[in-house]
Amino acid sequence: MIGVFKRLKMWSPRPLKKTYDVVIIGAGVHGLATAYELARRGVRNIAVLERYYIGAGSSGRNTAIIRSNYRTPEGVAFYDQSVKIYEKMSVDLDMNVMFSQRGHLTFAHTEQAIAGLRVRAEINQLTGVDSRVIYPSEIARLAPAVDLSSRPRFPVLAALYHPPGGIIRHDAVVWAYARAASRLGVDIHPFTTVTGINHGGGVVTGVDTSRGAIGAGTVVNSTAGWASTIAAMVGLRLPIVSHPLQALVTEPLKPFLDPVLVSATLNVYVSQTDRGELVIGAEIDPYSSYSNRSTLPFMEASAAHVLELLPSISSVKVLRQWAGVCDMTPDYSPIMGFVPGLKGFVLDVGWGTYGFKAGPISGRCIAELIHTGVTPDLIKPFSITRFASGEMLGEKAAAAVSH
């Protein structure tokens, strides 16, 4: 019984060594998953550096939606692998991450939007992802609280129904990876800011930190929100603009909303957590910024928009709101892989509004890339060279707003 009151140690603090084989910058889900997968492959001597506490960045600020109903075949195949890892994560990492596959509805309020959803449904089905277009009679069964009448200015006409989609406890995912990586010998160093990256002759040799210089064979940029500032340390400019993204949480209500609801037309998405709170978010703020402060205009607009979908929550109070910083790429797809002409530097950046759901598969692919030196087929399309070659992966239709 006394054991119940013992403080649980998720990971062990270890001294900062002078050199590591792999230094991963950013202890969010991406960095920690990469470290864990590398350790599983037998790579030892790995450090994960974090300037604040573990999961303090976008891994702790996202709205925890997991789904794979994207638009490009490359994107759908990639995110689908992540959903599959999330489905087994509680068992594999021995921690209850509370993955609740309650279904995901993306609403269409115009004829054009229905056409867009049909394209996504077809691509999803061809890739083996459960996803289809449904109409108000079925929407009413799945989400009776949604106003399907002609009262709203933009009535709901159809929805893309994605049954495997759902929500998860994002902090638990970060802790599960941190604990599993630590048990395999990965050094996790919170409150260790990277101030520079040592490189010369096209080879990265280590990093300077607030706690001293560290030699490294490979340096991984697994940051979100600050990817451009880390890349600038090796003289690299990325096709990224950082925008804030805001969300808010209401007081808890009795469970009344099963699926995650998304509307690009209304610029809002909402889900009900297991605690009963409604998590409401919107599109990124329309200007670049690294500020994490939230705004009243966002709360006003989101409240007005969500009431178009769920008029019954008009008297519900807002508990808190917050913001995170999203690294937006021109095509709303991430950038993963090696950088031509710079040995020992790996990118896992540009995660915009879709980074959390991709963490597990991204970590697995980046680990394979570092371990074997060969880019896995799954992430080949996401190379930084796609901007020069014009092989963009346009995901804006599926990634904006719906996260």
Binding site: S228, R237, I240, S288, L296
Partner: protein, 95 residues
């Protein structure tokens, strides 16, 4: 965070009246190599600090201007209307 942006024509206004036009950069000369154009089109400094960017006052005077802003806390240090006329039709205003 929300903030006031001083339009050179209209004075300080809510940032939601404006469209953000991206960081100011110099357009490459015609005939520049493809890599230069790729960098111009896609690569950004994306500074966590002082940034000189284009803004459009969509709900006001409907003019473009430049504002120097600290992107970490959205403090606007300076905003200026473009004064130098375009060199030719291919150049952006004020460059």
């Amino acid at each position: 965070m929300s903030f006031l942006l001083p339009c050179p024509q209209c004075g300080p206004r809510d940032v939601y009246e404006f469209r953000y036009g991206g960081e100011a950069q110099r357009r490459p000369a015609p005939g520049s190599p493809r890599s230069t154009w790729t960098a111009y089109l896609y690569d950004r400094t994306n500074a966590a600090g002082v940034e000189d960017a284009w803004w459009y006052h969509r709900l006001g005077c409907k003019r473009w201007f430049r504002a120097v802003r600290d992107t970490r806390d959205n403090t606007v240090l300076k905003s200026t209307a473009p004064t130098v006329p375009p060199r030719d039709a291919n150049d952006p205003p004020g460059d």
